[in-house]
């Protein structure tokens, strides 16, 4: 079952930024409902770049609560601020997804115990203090560090979402095949295999034809073992592409209504 992580509740978007500034729950609720109806499995929640660090934790808690009042979906708590992650987890109903740790030891040692403590899933980025590796092998090696450390903290691979890191195709073209190959290798790291995820729209940053690039990459990545993506759940073509890929990969049983069924949880 492919998991769409709806990207829209993010302070990068002006309507969400204003909603945060005015404590107006309506846009948050509306986007929660819209994305749920469009087929989102998780709601990504990101306070955005303008929120002051000292206020991020409080804002995160408010966003999570507001979104979950509107719909019965779990949240992907998307911030680099550890206090904000924990405040989000405290108010979250059900199993949350922490977004994210890297393979840096200090981060893993802080965030894996937190995930275990709140019974949350967690995204692990295949990068460390040296940045994003170029080759598939190096990405996979970092993924292995993430799997091993998660295991040491009692987190099952099925709760670990490895992100091999997608770079924009217009500036880092050589990363494309490496990222796809890393997806294939990550799925072989353990049994059960770790889950995988990407920030989909990175692939098309500042390029024309963004929707086309996004959906082409999504289909290619799904063939390589992509289980989920932070993406625009309201892009109908993109969701149709994911639905069709699950059918062609024989991950769900075909029926004439498959596009509709894919969006139902």
């Amino acid at each position: 079952m492919f998991e769409i992580i709806g990207e829209r509740i993010n302070g990068l978007f002006y309507d969400i930024r204003d909603a945060i500034a005015n404590k107006d729950p309506k846009p948050i609720r509306d986007w929660a409902v819209k994305q749920a109806e469009a087929g989102a499995f998780w709601l990504d929640i990101n306070t955005g770049p303008v929120a002051k660090k000292s206020e991020q934790a409080e804002i995160m808690a408010w966003l999570v609560k507001t979104a979950q009042e509107a719909v019965d979906l779990p949240c992907c708590i998307d911030t680099t601020n550890w206090d904000a992650i924990e405040e989000g987890l405290k108010v979250h109903k059900g199993k949350a997804l922490i977004n994210s740790t890297t393979a840096e030891q200090a981060k893993m040692d802080a965030l894996f115990p937190m995930a275990a403590n709140y019974n949350a899933a967690i995204v692990g980025l295949a990068m460390n203090e040296k940045g994003v590796p170029k080759s598939a092998e190096d990405r996979t090696a970092l993924a292995m560090e993430l799997v091993a450390n998660a295991d040491a903290y009692g987190i099952s691979p099925v709760d670990l979402y490895i992100d091999p890191l997608v770079l924009p195709v217009n500036v880092a073209q050589e990363h494309g095949p490496e990222c796809l190959e890393a997806l294939r290798q990550v799925k072989l790291l353990s049994n059960p295999a770790p889950k995988t995820t990407v920030g989909l729209s990175n692939i098309s940053q500042k390029a024309p034809n963004r929707p086309l690039i996004n959906k082409t990459f999504l289909a290619m990545a799904m063939v390589c073992g992509l289980d989920s993506a932070v993406m625009d759940a309201c892009d109908e073509d993109l969701v149709d592409t994911a639905a069709t890929a699950t059918i062609i990969l024989n991950q769900s049983i075909y029926c004439d209504s498959y596009l509709k069924i894919f969006r139902q949880k």
Binding site: M1, S252, I253, Y254, C255, D256, S257, I261
Partner: protein, 312 residues
């Protein structure tokens, strides 16, 4: 060295349904059939014996024998199959068939009601098999059986609307039937569900074949549907109905009385029906509609063993 036993980690389950005022439970499993070491099998497969609302035309003598005194009286026949140990009664409304008696909806509904009131087990009502006619008679039957929580079928892609609406309104379950095709099977469940009948009020019939007559096709469909259900496909996570008797008794190995080289008809006919049933029990079927009382006895002996927990 310790051996690590591989266990599948399923994430979902088959819907549990409860038929009749008695609430006989079916389904609810969280793993493939009888793998108690992997998950829960809360309810055993159930059997039904068929009762015709008018004297059947194609029953071989050997099959008529146990019902000889009741074969033209559906109420008495129904009481008898309950005595003989069937968990449910499957009333087949053949009299409505245009080539049989072409009985009216009101007539068959009256019989269905009389049978329901005469027994203390849940009722399955099966139409005459002509889609249009079943679309006419089954809604009337559903109304007459209000409150009985009966299982009504077969609903097909061509007649599901009227029957589903009535089953929903009068509190029944439907049997959704599709021709040996998992994609059509899934689509029909979806169409029925979209009319407002919850998925846990549907059981599906993938159309089975008897031993030697395409049994492997239906086996594969059931197995695929079960794996789909256990990995989260709710549209296929409904109990499965298998029309065992109807198929097994079509086989010449079962109905041919005069074939000494195959041994006594009694032995092989029962074996044919039981082997067909046990095969589909292993594939994932939940409700077994059979014809001979001896077959359900033998089948239940198998189920008794299969239901003993192998958890460790």
């Amino acid at each position: 060295m310790a051996v690590t036993i591989a266990k599948e980690r399923w994430t979902s389950k088959v819907a549990e349904e409860a038929y009749g005022s008695q609430g006989i439970k079916v389904g609810g499993e969280t793993t493939l059939p009888f793998l108690q070491f992997e998950g829960e099998i809360p309810n055993r497969p159930v059997t039904a014996l068929e009762v015709f609302d008018t004297e059947p035309k194609d029953y071989p003598d050997f099959l008529r024998e146990p019902f000889a005194d009741v074969i033209s009286d559906p109420v008495a026949w129904a009481r008898k199959v309950v005595e003989l140990g069937a968990d449910m009664v499957a009333l087949r409304l053949m009299s409505a068939h245009p080539d049989w008696n072409n009985a009216s909806a009101q007539d068959v509904a009256k019989t269905a009601k009389a049978v329901a009131e005469a027994i203390n087990v849940p009722l399955i009502v099966i139409g005459c098999g002509v889609e249009d006619k079943d679309g006419e008679i089954l809604p009337v039957v559903a109304e007459a059986l209000e409150g009985q929580k009966a299982l009504i079928g077969c609903v097909t892609a061509n007649n599901y609307k009227s029957i589903t609406a009535a089953a929903n309104g009068y509190g029944h379950y439907v049997i959704a039937s599709s021709p040996l095709d998992i994609n059509l099977c899934k689509q029909l469940n979806i169409l029925i569900n979209e009319m407002g009948l919850p998925l846990d009020r549907i059981a599906f019939d993938p159309l089975v074949g008897a031993l030697g007559y395409g049994i492997e096709y239906a086996y594969s469909i059931m197995e695929r549907a079960r794996m789909g259900a256990l990995t989260g496909d709710k549209t296929l996570a409904t109990p499965i109905v298998a029309f065992i008797g109807q198929e097994a008794w079509k086989a010449k190995e079962a109905k041919d009385a005069d074939a000494p080289e195959w041994g006594p008809q009694g032995d092989r006919a029962i074996l044919w029906e039981v082997t067909t049933a046990t095969t589909f029990a292993i594939a994932g079927a939940n409700i077994f509609i059979m014809r001979h009382p001896e077959s359900i006895k033998k089948f239940n002996a198998f189920v008794d063993e299969a239901m003993k927990s192998n958890a460790y």
